[in-house]
Every structure is written in C-alpha cells, then in structure tokens.
C-alpha cells in the first residue's frame, strides 16, 4: 500500500490534490499545472487581451493599485506589483499596453493568499501598466504610467 498516495487522496479536492501530487513528486509539476492561456498571452492589443481573459470592459477601481517606479532606467528589469484591497480577489494580471504582447503574467489566488504580488517585467518603451483584478466574479482595472529610458526588448 502506498501510504503517501492514500494521504494525498484524503487531503482535498481539485487544485489541492494537484498541488499535493506535484509537491510529493508523484507526478511532474508540468503535468499538474493548468493549461497556459495561449490566446491571452499571444493577443497583440489591450482589447484582445482583455477579451481572452474573459472581460470586455473592466471597471476602474481605486482599490486596485499598480506599484512601480515612475521612471525605469532599464526596461529589461522593471519592478512592478499589484495590490488589491477588494475582498475575494481571485485573480490578478499585469498588462503592459505597448509591449508586443500586452499580457505579462496572470496569477490565480486561492483563499488565504493576499492580493499583493510583486515581480519584474520587461518593457519595450514608455507605457501604461495595467493591473487587472477579478474579485467576487467581477473585473476591475487600475493603471500607472512608467517611463522607460532604455528599452528592454532590443537585441
């Protein structure tokens, strides 16, 4: 009897099982992870990206904040973050309007994980950064302009 497997089956449902399986090394993480949203990541314009993420016109919200510098000297490494104080925030995404593909990253937040994610992105040129947030099933958006003095997509 494989005791580890028994425990995994008892421990929860859905994503929890997949996470546990991946952590226990029973199945490869690559298999356990959800399908990559190709349509959203390959969309060229903001409008197409929003559509691929499941919204047409998200409401602007003051409860969502994009954090980052006003001016980024190096477009290859721009620290940005998304903070949302909306209750039940389940998804956050970072979009860069003037990049070849607007969507930089999206994160699913299970209950208990704070809507406060920081990362670093590449920016080809000065652009608005959008934070798209899904809370209680509704989409909200916030924006911040970051000026780039040296582009991050050159050769």
């Amino acid at each position: 009897m494989n005791n580890q497997r028994r425990n995994v089956l008892k421990s929860g449902s859905g994503a929890a099982i997949l996470g546990a399986l991946a952590a226990a090394g029973i199945i490869k993480p690559g298999v356990a992870l959800a399908d990559w949203n190709k349509a959203a990541f390959e969309a060229k314009s903001m409008a197409d990206t929003l559509k691929a993420l499941g919204t047409e016109k998200p409401a602007e919200s003051k409860d969502v904040q994009v954090t980052g510098p006003d001016i980024a000297e190096n477009g290859a490494v721009v620290p940005v973050g998304v903070v949302s104080t909306l209750p039940n925030t389940t998804m956050v995404a970072i979009l860069i309007e003037k990049n070849p593909n607007a969507l930089a990253a999206s994160f699913m937040l299970p209950a208990g994980t704070e809507a406060n994610v920081q990362t670093r992105v590449k920016m080809g040129q000065t652009s608005n950064i959008y934070a798209l947030v899904k809370a209680d099933g509704k989409f909200y958006i916030a924006t911040k302009e970051i000026k780039v003095t040296l582009g991050g997509c050159g050769g």
Partner: protein, 103 residues
C-alpha cells in the same frame, strides 16, 4: 532541469511572505543574435507555489517577465518549519521544483 531557485519564506504575525528568484533566461523570441538569426523563445509559462502541499499561488507567465524572474507574494498562515515549494515549467517542457522550510 534548470538551475536551483532561491526561495525565502518568512512567517510574521500569521502571514507568510515568500520571495522567489528563479534562474531562467526568459528569451522572448524577438531578439536576434550577431548573425541576424532570431533567438528562439524560451520562457517560463507556468508556475505554482504550495504550502505543506496546498496550492497558495498559481501563475502564468508571458515573455515580458524579466530574465531570472523575481516573485514575491504573501499568504495567511504558515509557521516556522512548514514546507513551501515552488515549481515552474517552460515552453520547451523543462521544469523544476524547489522546496524550503519557512524560517
């Protein structure tokens, strides 16, 4: 398998903050080498983090995430000694999982 990640997890006042530094080229597929040939895209598409086996974050990355991606997030709960694991997978099928104990 990629190179090891640097993961730091610290619990304070019932909230655990996790900081991850992944070692990955994150090639966009839009750059050219010295001969003008396009360098093929190679980037992380999916990542996830677990706390004692329970998923606390799952993310999808595009090419706009910087080389050697940095990620910081917080979740409720977690105590010193608990395990936090982070996994990623790139578009060529390479993947890696690293685990640390909360300090």
């Amino acid at each position: 398998m990629g190179k090891p990640m640097k993961i730091r997890a610290s619990a304070k006042d019932g909230v655990t903050e996790v900081k991850v530094l992944i070692s990955h080229d994150m090639e966009t597929g839009q750059r050219k080498d010295a001969n003008g040939a396009v360098i093929p895209a190679l980037f992380i598409t999916e990542m996830s983090a677990t706390h004692n086996g329970k998923t606390v974050l799952s993310g999808e990355f595009g090419t706009a995430i910087s080389k050697n991606p940095y990620l910081a997030f917080k979740f409720k709960g977690g105590a010193a000694g608990d395990k936090v694991a982070v996994s990623w997978k790139d578009n060529k099928g390479d993947s890696r999982t690293d685990e640390v104990a909360i300090g």
